[in-house]
């Protein structure tokens, strides 16, 4: 009994009669074989796993620019005639009654003329747990994404889109049970800022667990990951300090740095030589104009870059830190929980003691199925920050159920609860990430990022391939996230697979089969083999490109992906 809803209104979810087993299967697939586990750990005897970027052929680059050129020209033509003949469609960008528009036509050109075309691939409303499967409301548009019509039904899709690295997005199990208990006992809100009222035993307990987990003396938790970074740097740096930031740092770090009003220098992504050059120059030259020494220098990096899938070069960074005495800030938004033998992030992965990093920051959204962020550091630093971070005094504190979700999931990862469950989850995400990555490389796709990274960006280049890829995957029952400019460079539009421990090996098989077919249709297989995927080692040097057929990939990759050299 599906009724057609009014346009642009997301319907309420239909009544469901799933059994507990069906629901569990949708949220978290059962491990099919213990062979499908792996421990992600950097082997210290090997050189650092620096990802090699594969370049697309020249014609692809030219084609991509041409694509944009045509889109931009058509957009401007449409704007030119539209404003004259259909002014009613341009209300939002035209001045009215002496009021300026909310946003200018130029400012909104990209969203109106380019992004609108692929709006159906973004913000798909969902219902239920974004676990192994995500269920999207079925929708269609008759007017090029101006309005969406919903029929009230839900389409289940294999989920490669959510940040659910360890699969804690669940509506059953001990985490959820605990969270519900907390709602009953503590309610839904924390009633105010941390330093005013919102400081319950749950907050103190969670901070302790988090600090222990990341290996620092103490930690602070905040209700939003973005907000953690956005208001942290004003408490660390002032105008006489220098913040050196990786060029691909997340928007929240960039915003926080701007708010701090400190001097900023940017080094190109993961380029340690460039960083060292900036450090040498900054320390020796001092502040601009006055040449006085900098009061403090911070280097801000991310543990795992969410758009590239790269890890920071932590061994080199701590080496530089010892030499140049700067303070090291590592944002572990994506790496905490997802990397390392014990899931404790990049420090764990590289085997570097957390004491060699000054400030560890991370979020709870990605691996723990919760929300918010933390800052962990030595006791004296946290003491000051507890009094000084503006969010602590002015912003709301973490709500109780979220805290409980964090504490319980952390205890599972640590092995304090549910026996081996934490270890299994860590093993599954490590295996799944490596399997899918190697599979894609062997099929001939250009894939960025480190081997163990659960974020796998597959390069599409041409903007038109973004919606095409997303829609085709949707039709085949897989939900993916496509990202283009301005989140990436203009030409390097990509699809980003976020791997989860909730996926089974068979799910990855299915994904590989689907991507293989779509890759042929959309002409996406143009890797040179420089970044891996060769049939025999050394093929790249002989000019043999990796183009395995799907059956061979499925047969050999699950074992091969566990090897150190692939």
């Amino acid at each position: 009994m599906r009724e057609i809803y009014t346009p642009n209104t997301v319907p309420n979810a239909p009544e469901e009669n799933l059994t507990a087993e069906e629901k569990e299967d949708l949220e978290f697939g059962k491990l099919t074989s213990t062979d499908h586990l792996y421990v992600a750990k950097y082997n210290q005897n090997e050189p650092l796993p620096t990802p090699i970027l594969d370049e697309p052929p020249y014609y692809i680059v030219i084609f991509t620019y041409l694509n944009y050129l045509i889109l931009i020209i058509i957009g401007h033509i449409k704007d030119f005639f539209g404003k004259r003949f259909m002014p009613q469609c341009f209300d939002a960008v035209m001045p009215k009654n002496g009021y300026p528009p909310w946003y200018s036509a130029f400012e909104s050109f990209y969203p109106r003329r380019l992004k609108k075309r692929l709006d159906d691939c973004f913000a798909r409303p969902i219902h239920g747990v974004p676990g192994r499967y995500v269920r999207c409301f079925t929708r269609f548009s008759n007017d090029y994404n101006q309005t969406f019509h919903y029929d009230g039904g839900l389409t289940p899709l294999l989920n490669l889109s959510s940040y659910n690295y360890l699969g804690f997005a669940q509506s059953m199990g001990v985490c959820t049970r605990d969270a519900i208990e907390v709602v009953e006992k503590y309610g839904t809100s924390s009633g105010g800022p941390r330093n005013v009222i919102g400081n319950t035993d749950l907050h103190r307990d969670t901070e302790k667990v988090v600090a222990e987990f990341v290996g620092k003396d103490d930690a602070l938790v905040f209700s939003m990951g973005y907000g953690t970074n956005a208001h942290l740097f004003t408490s660390l740096a002032n105008s006489k300090c220098l913040l050196i930031s990786d060029s691909l740092n997340h928007g929240s770090i960039r915003f926080g740095i701007r708010l701090a009003g400190a001097a900023v220098k940017v080094f190109s992504h993961n380029d340690m030589d460039a960083l060292e050059k900036i450090l040498r120059e900054s320390i020796s030259q001092g502040q601009s104009k006055t040449h006085r020494p900098w009061k403090k220098i911070f280097v801000c990096v991310e543990g795992l870059y969410s758009m590239e899938g790269n890890l920071c070069n932590l061994p080199k960074l701590v080496e530089l830190r010892d030499k140049y005495k700067f303070y090291l800030f590592v944002d572990e938004a994506h790496s905490i929980g997802a990397l390392g033998e014990h899931g404790r992030g990049v420090c764990d992965y590289f085997g570097i003691p957390p004491s060699r990093i000054d400030i560890l920051m991370g979020t709870f959204t990605k691996s723990f199925g919760a929300a918010g962020g933390y800052v962990a550091a030595n006791q004296d630093i946290i003491n000051r920050l507890r009094l000084d971070i503006s969010t602590q005094c002015y912003g709301e504190s973490q709500p109780p159920p979220v805290l409980k979700q964090i504490a319980t999931s952390l205890r599972i990862i640590r092995g304090d609860l549910n026996g081996n469950e934490g270890k299994e989850r860590l093993g599954r995400i490590a295996f799944n990430s490596r399997y899918l990555r190697l599979g894609l490389k062997r099929l001939g796709f250009i894939v960025y990022g480190a081997d163990d990274s659960p974020v796998i960006p597959l390069l599409l280049y041409a903007p038109a391939k973004m919606p095409a890829f997303s829609r085709m995957m949707y039709e085949q029952g897989v939900a993916v996230v496509v990202v283009g400019y301005p989140a990436t460079e203009l030409i390097s539009s990509r699809v980003r697979f976020c791997i989860s421990a909730s996926l089974t090996k068979e799910d990855i098989d299915k994904i590989l089969r689907v991507v293989d077919v779509i890759g042929d249709k959309l002409y996406l297989k143009f890797s040179s083999g420089i970044a891996g995927g060769e049939v025999h080692p050394g093929d790249y040097k002989k000019g043999i490109v990796p183009r395995w057929n799907i059956e061979d990939v499925l047969a050999k990759t699950p074992e091969d992906c566990k090897g150190t050299m692939y």
Partner: protein, 575 residues
């Protein structure tokens, strides 16, 4: 003989020129090759003709243009930061190494001073739920004091433990889990999120709404979407920290008008008029609050709306404290004034106060909200709020709407407003407190701001406000002297207020004080005792708590002298 010599000299003198001629001819050949190459390019002939003609008319011009071309090439090849380069000191590698060895950074954060240590104990440690009654851990003895009346929480409508709200949150958790697991634009939007933003918009009477993950981030993310370089914001000089940061980060030009002074606002607008009429049509905002976080008072909205319409400015109103507390149905300041929400172009608020949930929101017209979906940092770059927070918000709004009756005060809001009236009348009528404290907030405010009486503060030789333009703290911030981010008098005044709070804890009343951090604030501030009222308090609870508050204030402030103030400062330093 003569001829021979001449031929010889001719031969010898011709030797060198022939050498030159060889090169010259090849250069000429190259030149003609180049010219003929240019001629083959479409339009090349035209360029050559142009150069020929211009050279014929004015040979100097050719030289000038050649120089210009060289200059342009040099400019493009020069380093982007050539200006900085010229400022740099030339150092050898050894010198650089020595400087690096020599450089000692300041500590990552300034150490907590002895005088500030009391601040840790001043953060109340709660055991269990935060409702109208809380269990507080006594900081010294670590014993739990049960059932303390919570006058420090912002859950004005007592919704945090409402059974309907809880059950709606639980229902969502059993369906969707706890976290949203993704940004709103990437599969993070659940149906309950959409419902919550619709409910907010409907409840407040706006076209559309958008929900954010944290209240403190909302304003700093929303305003910079619409205020860019060249735009104008006229801001009340008493706004909260998040609005201060929001306008300052947006890089627009800012004018501050005196707190709630509509005449001053109008005079600023009048003085800007000429400039605005000639200039481009930039975006113009008046930024203020519905109920001020820092003062507990409200602007004259009727006048404000009239002014902004006259000068064609848009109004951005932060209603974090006024929604749920002002107006017969808790719809905020516009409802209290009988002004439709559509007159307020942008409303920012929080879900963490009256809505008993967590997060922030913005409501307004469709075009404004649409723009935020793509360009608001905290919306784009962050995971969406947990779904259960959205459904808790919807549950509160549905409760409020269901109990609404035309012409009457909403029964869910009424007890709160009665409590506010009762408490403020008790304060106003207290002769015991008249010389000791003054109530800064308005009589309708759910947050009571109580300051030490200005006369008393003067007798203690305290400044009118701490921090703000020209102060020691602002100078310290400007020069990066972090160890000077401390004001002895501010610290002591706050401590004296804390003594009142600590004493009240024994009477089972939990108050709070303004916990503002001087070096973050742009505007001056005065320490205040703060009482948050709640609709769940009974009349007798209010009355008995007032007696305790009155008593505690009297005991601590009546004996306060310039000398004892100084002694307290010393005792903090050397304790």
């Amino acid at each position: 003989m003569d001829t021979v010599t001449t031929t010889v000299t001719k031969e010898t003198s011709n030797q060198a020129p022939q050498f030159v001629i060889k090169y010259a001819s090849s250069a000429v050949e190259l030149w003609y090759g180049f010219i003929s190459f240019i001629e083959t390019i479409p339009g090349g002939q035209i360029i050559i003709n142009y150069i020929k003609a211009s050279h014929k008319n004015d040979p100097w011009r050719t030289l000038l243009e050649l120089l210009l071309a060289l200059l342009a090439i040099r400019y493009f090849l020069a380093s982007k930061y050539s200006q900085d380069e010229s400022e740099k000191v030339k150092l050898s590698k050894r010198e650089v190494d020595e400087l690096i060895d020599d450089w000692e950074p300041e500590p990552i954060v300034p150490a907590v001073r002895q005088e500030e240590r009391w601040l840790f104990d001043a953060i109340p440690a709660i055991e269990g739920a935060i409702t109208k009654h809380v269990n507080v851990v006594e900081p010294k003895s670590k014993e739990i004091i049960y059932d303390v009346l919570n006058m420090a929480g912002r859950d004005f409508l007592d919704m945090n433990t409402n059974e309907l709200v809880k059950s709606s949150a639980i229902k969502t958790i059993t369906e969707c889990g706890v976290g949203a697991c993704g940004p709103a634009n990437f599969y993070g939007t659940q149906d309950v999120h959409v419902r919550a933003s619709e409910d907010l918009a409907r409840f407040l009477g706006a076209e559309k709404g958008i929900v954010y993950g944290q209240d403190f981030c909302t304003a700093t993310s929303v305003l910079p979407c619409f205020l860019k370089r060249g735009d104008i914001a006229i801001v009340d000089d008493g706004v909260s920290l998040s609005l201060q940061k929001a306008v300052m980060i947006s890089r627009c030009s800012i004018e501050w008008f005196h707190h709630n002074d509509m005449d001053h606002l109008e005079s600023i607008l009048e003085s800007l008029q000429e400039e605005l009429q000639d200039g481009p049509l930039n975006r113009r905002f008046i930024v203020t609050e519905g109920l001020f976080e820092n003062f507990g008072d409200s602007p004259d909205l009727a006048r404000l709306v009239e002014i902004k319409n006259k000068y064609k400015f848009r109004l951005a109103l932060d209603e974090s404290y006024s929604i749920g507390t002002l107006g017969p149905n808790g719809r905020g300041l516009p409802e209290a004034y009988g002004i439709p929400r559509t007159e307020i172009e942008m409303t920012i608020g929080t879900l963490a106060n009256s809505f008993g949930s967590s997060g922030g929101f913005c409501v307004g017209c469709d075009a404004m909200i649409y723009h935020q979906i793509l360009s608001s940092n905290a919306y784009v770059f962050s995971a969406y709020i947990p779904p259960y927070c959205a459904s808790a918000t919807s549950a509160v709004i549905n409760l409020l709407e269901a109990s609404e009756k035309p012409g009457e005060i909403n029964p869910l809001v009424k007890p709160l407003q009665e409590n506010i009236a009762l408490m403020s009348s008790l304060f106003r009528n207290s002769s015991k407190l008249a010389d000791l404290v003054s109530v800064r907030s308005s009589d309708a405010s759910a947050v009571m701001h109580i300051r030490i009486n200005p006369a008393l503060r003067k007798s203690l030789d305290l400044p009118e406000g701490y921090g703000g333009p020209g102060s020691q703290i602002v100078k310290a911030v400007k020069n990066g002297h972090e160890t000077d981010y401390f004001d002895r008098e501010y610290n002591t005044e706050c401590y004296i207020l804390q003594l009142i709070i600590d004493q009240l804890l024994n009477s089972k009343v939990l108050l709070t004080r303004s916990k503002r951090i001087l070096h973050h604030e742009v505007l001056p501030c005065v320490p205040e005792l703060i009482i948050y009222l709640n609709s769940g308090f009974t009349k007798s609870e209010i009355q008995s708590s007032f007696i305790a508050i009155e008593d505690a204030i009297y005991q601590n402030l009546s004996t306060l002298t310039y000398k004892s103030f100084d002694q307290i400062s010393d005792s903090l330093e050397f304790s």
